[in-house]
Assembly symmetry: C2
Amino acid sequence: MMLLDPTPETALTPRAHVVIIGGGFGGLACAQALGGSDIDVILIDRRNHNLFQPLLYQVATAALSPADISEPIRRTLGRYRNIRVMLAEVTGVDTGARAVVLEGGRRVEYEQLVIATGSEYNYFGNDDWRAHAPGLKSIHEARLIRQRLLIAFEKAELSTDRLEQRALLTTVIIGGGPTGVEMAGAVNELGRYMIERDFRTLRREDFRVVLAEGGPRLLGGFPENLSDYAARYLTDAGVELRLGEMVKHIASDHVIIGDERIDTGCVIWGAGVKASPVAQWLGVEPGSGNRVPVNPDLSVPGLPGVHVIGDAALLNDEDGNPLPGLAQVAKQQGTYLGRALRRKLEHNESPGPFQFHNRGNTAVIGRNAAVFDFGRWQMKGRLAWLLWAIVHVWLLINFEKRLLVTLQWISRYITRQRGARVIDEGAPGLPPTTSRSET
Amino acid sequence: MMLLDPTPETALTPRAHVVIIGGGFGGLACAQALGGSDIDVILIDRRNHNLFQPLLYQVATAALSPADISEPIRRTLGRYRNIRVMLAEVTGVDTGARAVVLEGGRRVEYEQLVIATGSEYNYFGNDDWRAHAPGLKSIHEARLIRQRLLIAFEKAELSTDRLEQRALLTTVIIGGGPTGVEMAGAVNELGRYMIERDFRTLRREDFRVVLAEGGPRLLGGFPENLSDYAARYLTDAGVELRLGEMVKHIASDHVIIGDERIDTGCVIWGAGVKASPVAQWLGVEPGSGNRVPVNPDLSVPGLPGVHVIGDAALLNDEDGNPLPGLAQVAKQQGTYLGRALRRKLEHNESPGPFQFHNRGNTAVIGRNAAVFDFGRWQMKGRLAWLLWAIVHVWLLINFEKRLLVTLQWISRYITRQRGARVIDEGAPGLPPTTSRSET
């Protein structure tokens, strides 16, 4: 965001030992590994908060509030005197002068640079689809999706046209990966609950959730038996699957999948991701998914002092397969690089190569249903779901959030109620509110 | 909001026995009193949620999340089969045809009408001030204020100009009533904490909170000794008071109070309220504050079947003073009217006059400090603050919210941390977000 006056070419601060771009899992882990040392670190993010993305779908489906899964970066790093946090938008990197260029032209000079800017949704060249089919990467988008889901129900309630009602009660989710599967399960539960309990004039049979995946199966990154389990579970729950069909068109009120036109009140995008434009900043040739190929120590070939981690980096594992864009990869790379830079700057040691330790890949499918893939072995069903819940609560940033989320989950589980079904006035898709109040 | 197709003059539903406009304290209490009967009731609100306004200032100051203090109206009334909830914007009332007119021209016909649309902030003819100085009536506004407070700090952090920093760290609050006093106390605590803990490059002495009141004292509705206590407490806490000074001008970056120009990063309006335009809908002569004069049974003289309650109604107490625009007044009037209508429609009985029972008027000033006025006697200090907290938790709509708010308050109290310090991307004052993510 535009926080700086455009006074180009002026350095904002003395040259920092380490500048980190991005306060996500990777950037934050890197900063924490450098915390408490004499190395002065600047972390730049265009958001003031770290977002726990694995639970973002629960904000979009009104189970949790944004604040439950986001934490001010300043609060997380506040205890480290050697780390400074900047809320600013990065527009490029001057690798020659070793400076990060911020919106407005101001510069932040570095000795060592860590780029952890993650990935964005890939609309495969149809960027006009984005307006109709938001992805699930930010609180803003999660709120937008929640908004559309809830408004569609309200509109349907007021409609006297059966076809319009059907369309409004139809949600289409594009992409059968973890995000798509999690959204499909959650939207399905939310919708069926609301019709049951709060919208009794609506007909149950008019409510539809369609999950479309271009590939042959759901959860393509998981073993087949887990994909089959997910497909069975969702089908039994009433979700309609469209496998092996490509999305041809997305408009505000309908999508075309294969040859089928589906009228809908809400479209959600979870299909493909591509790395943020780091390769363009650095002027290097991007690899698959626009990711920046890096050395085993996460440095960028030919650019001294520049490192890329997380979704933005392209690194192969022992078997020559690129490491997936997962939180645990970003986190492990951040910690590795933070320690490596510390050893380099403090004792001038150079580290061994980064090694990824697979902690297990998971997706939650619905009430009492999740899948875990630990490589050698798998888990599914209620036990996996419990483990998923425990792991995700444990991964939350502090005790208060763990407690709050746990309590809300227990309450959801018992009552099936959703706590955060708030339509924000003045939110996207609504006219600006006057300060008139109904209370 | 615009939910209906503009097909004028068509009635949306069969004529309802009772139509309630507004799902605030008054409207909801009225609906609940009618719940479970054979009287068919339609409650119309342009929001999907009931908002617990007494705690809205805590959302604006990042202590609570919107969902903690708002509840879907459908959820609250879902158990009553005889009540239908409509999310729609009312544009007028056709008292002759006994119909409520919705945006788009659709109509909802009534036998008995209850108008509980509350009040809006009164900018005393300077409606251009609203953009610079939002009030505190909706979640949208609370989020906007939170946004401006947090962004101002981030901007100050990045600024290299001392004067600009000073301006950005100055918050001006207009209006010394409960809202203004509560905001001043909360902003002061939030700001001092953030400088202490998270923005160490900023100077404590640059942080200012200015509370301006046109009248001679704070909390004009309270006894003088409580006003003095509030003034002393806030002054000791570092808040600057401007009493007896009128606001002459409000711009985006400064305000003029009396002859003093104050450069500021955030202006908050809590000065005056006026009733929503009910008198105009009904074509009656409004009383003070644009309120509609009503009979002792809350009906409107000369308009059969029309009732007004809460902030929108003007009714005098035994001593001939108009009842204040308080939640407890609206709630008591709603319950009274719901029961009265029930008796009227079920047994054709007509009720006695409404009588207000003062449950005590309160305002919280800061950590360990609140005031209570029970008419005959008063309370202030730590005990009043504890009572305030207990009463407000108890007034929350259900057990889950009570538990969540209690836990967050305990955590705030111990850690002084604020839980909801989230700057929403794409929120007012920020550029729209792309779906690029830092995680």
